[in-house]
């Protein structure tokens, strides 16, 4: 088991390294520079000084070496846009908004997704089942930005029930959370339903029934624990996707989260901030993938005893 986890951790670190390198190169391949907006107001000398101050005048390999050395010390560098502000601090500023939004969306997606999926699995071919599948189909086919615009138009502009932007009050969370969670809810409902039905048709469920166990134990322990295996491998990337998906939703609702900052740093060619943000997102995805692998160990004993 230790070997299994070590292998996964090493793989994650390698992936992160590749991600950092590719990001570093691609960000700098985009035409334009961080100070192009102000270039008209600067003398060539001032411009050159500025470039030298941040080391952008150096050839790429040298910059890369410097960047990696700093990164190794845990230093993401200084923002090119906001003078004197560390990228890490910038991420910290946006973190609370992004994390709270993602956390609530994950919670909502899990509760509703599991609820609908279990209901549909236990009552196949009834109106309950059909309703759940209808919700699921709608959720899968609508991208989150369409949902966001639809909600804004209906709930905020027409009915004036909710604030259009920001995250200042609990009510403000409603629309972004729905926009974020609808797709995962839809996928989760379908997945929970099919996995659970599949597990309920297994022979061991007949065996459990023959022991006179209650329906709750049969579904909750015998079937659900087996059904969780495919679900876990969806849920971990789902959480990571919600984290990234908040990028679009944050921008639409102008929520001061990491997503909005990422968008600004792209237009500003803020190399260090952009790299830092992408590394942060990437690390998030990897952590959740790792957590999924860890969850497997607890659910499926066959993994634990595998060499």
């Amino acid at each position: 088991m230790v070997k299994y986890l070590m292998k996964r951790i090493l793989m994650s670190l390698l992936t992160l390294f590749v991600l950092i390198t590719v990001t570093f190169v691609m960000v700098r391949l985009v035409p334009g520079g961080p100070f192009d907006a102000d270039i008209a107001e600067m003398t060539p000398e001032a411009y050159a000084n500025l470039m030298a101050r941040y080391g952008i005048d150096q050839p790429l390999p040298v910059q890369y070496k410097m960047y990696m050395q700093n990164l190794f010390k845990g230093d993401l560098g200084e923002s090119l846009q906001y003078t004197g502000v560390e990228v890490a601090e910038l991420i910290g500023r946006g973190l609370s908004a992004t994390l709270s939004l993602t956390f609530i969306a994950v919670l909502v997606a899990l509760i509703i997704g599991f609820g609908l999926g279990i209901a549909a699995a236990l009552m196949p071919n009834t109106w309950v089942d059909r309703l759940c599948m209808a919700i699921s189909t709608i959720g899968i086919s609508l991208p989150n930005y369409v949902v966001a615009i639809g909600l804004m138009y209906l709930l905020a502009l027409k009915l004036s029930l909710l604030p259009v932007t920001g995250l200042s009050s609990p009510a403000a969370y409603v629309m972004p959370v729905i926009a974020l969670a609808l797709n995962p809810i839809a996928n989760l409902t379908k997945l929970v339903k099919t996995s659970l039905i599949d597990a309920l048709n297994q022979d061991y469920v007949t065996m459990a029934k023959s022991k006179g166990l209650s329906q709750v134990k049969i579904v909750g322990i015998h079937a659900m624990k087996n059904a969780l295996l495919p679900i876990v491998s969806y849920v971990a990337p789902m959480i990571a996707n919600l984290l990234i998906g908040s990028f679009v939703v944050e921008n639409m609702f102008t929520i001061p989260g990491i997503g909005t900052m990422l968008a600004t740093s792209i237009t500003n060619r803020d190399y260090t901030t952009l790299s830092g943000m992408i590394i942060f997102y990437g690390a998030g995805v990897l952590v959740f993938a790792l957590l999924a692998d860890l969850a497997y160990v607890f659910i499926d004993p066959r993994v634990k005893f595998e060499d």
Partner: protein
Amino acid sequence: MANILEIEHLKTFFVTDQGVVKPVRDVSLTLGEGEVLGIVGESGSGKSVTMLSVMGLLARNGYVGQGRVTFDGQEIFNIQPEGEDVTIKQLKQEKKAYEAKMRKYRGKEVGMIFQDPMTYLNPILTIGYQMSEGLKAHFKMSKKECRERNLRILELAGITNPKRRLSQYPFQLSGGMRQRVMIAQAISSYPKLLIADEPTTALDVTIQAQILDLMQALKNKIGTSIILITHDLGVVASMCSRIIILYGGQIMEQGTSREIFYQSKHPYTEGLLQSVANYDEEADESKKLVPIEGTPPDLLKPPAGCAFVDRCKYAMKICKTHEPEMRQISPTHACKCFRCYPEVESLTKGGAAND
């Protein structure tokens, strides 16, 4: 001797896309205390569905249409629809009611052993957990009591190092070992009735013999009655005192082991006996295994006459149109075939009626 299980005129059907399938068509049987009854028939003859109906373990689309079942003197269900206008809804309610009733017996008074130990044990729960579940549910046993009982039962079931087994998972055991665990699990509540649904089919021949010996030994130790469902006459020969031959959802012949093996009357039983490999006799041409040609009847459209008519080498005209009744040959022996009718028997003596 009191009867532990009585089944009267059981009829079961499944509602499918193609229509209504009737895998059990009027089956009646009794099982005495301490008795071992063999139910024999090929795949699709209704052996398993009969027992699943009684146990209340039918699939969602399966219903008992008619029949009365008593277990240990207690009536489990008595479904007697009047006329043709019984609705699925009514049967669904009946099903719900008796399944709830039966749940108290399952795993307590009745233990079940299934065919395939690879798929009937839950792969991600420990042996100990799976063995304790029933005990906890029915007897409110504590963890310690469960453990003690389980250790004793595993030992009875011939499992080495039972302490270690309790914390192991099914995938860590061999096939024969898993079947022993399944048996141990079924008998851990000291049930009055043990239903073994093809317990040896998925095992290789040497293990088969061991498992049968084990069941025989356990029967003597805990004093349970056994219903052994199988398609292998060789398996029932060594264990069962009485045998029921099932075909097309109906009982074709029943009798003591001796009567079935040495005085069988039904052409289907004859066919089954001819397809049992016999290693004692020398393998010359005349001793080749004789298969029964053809396939079982389509139970979507059960035949009007005898269920076996299409495959019977003695079939007469009347067999196609009329269903023979069960005729008693001796107090213990009965057969559902026109050839057992005394009036027909006298005719067939010369072989004249065979057309």
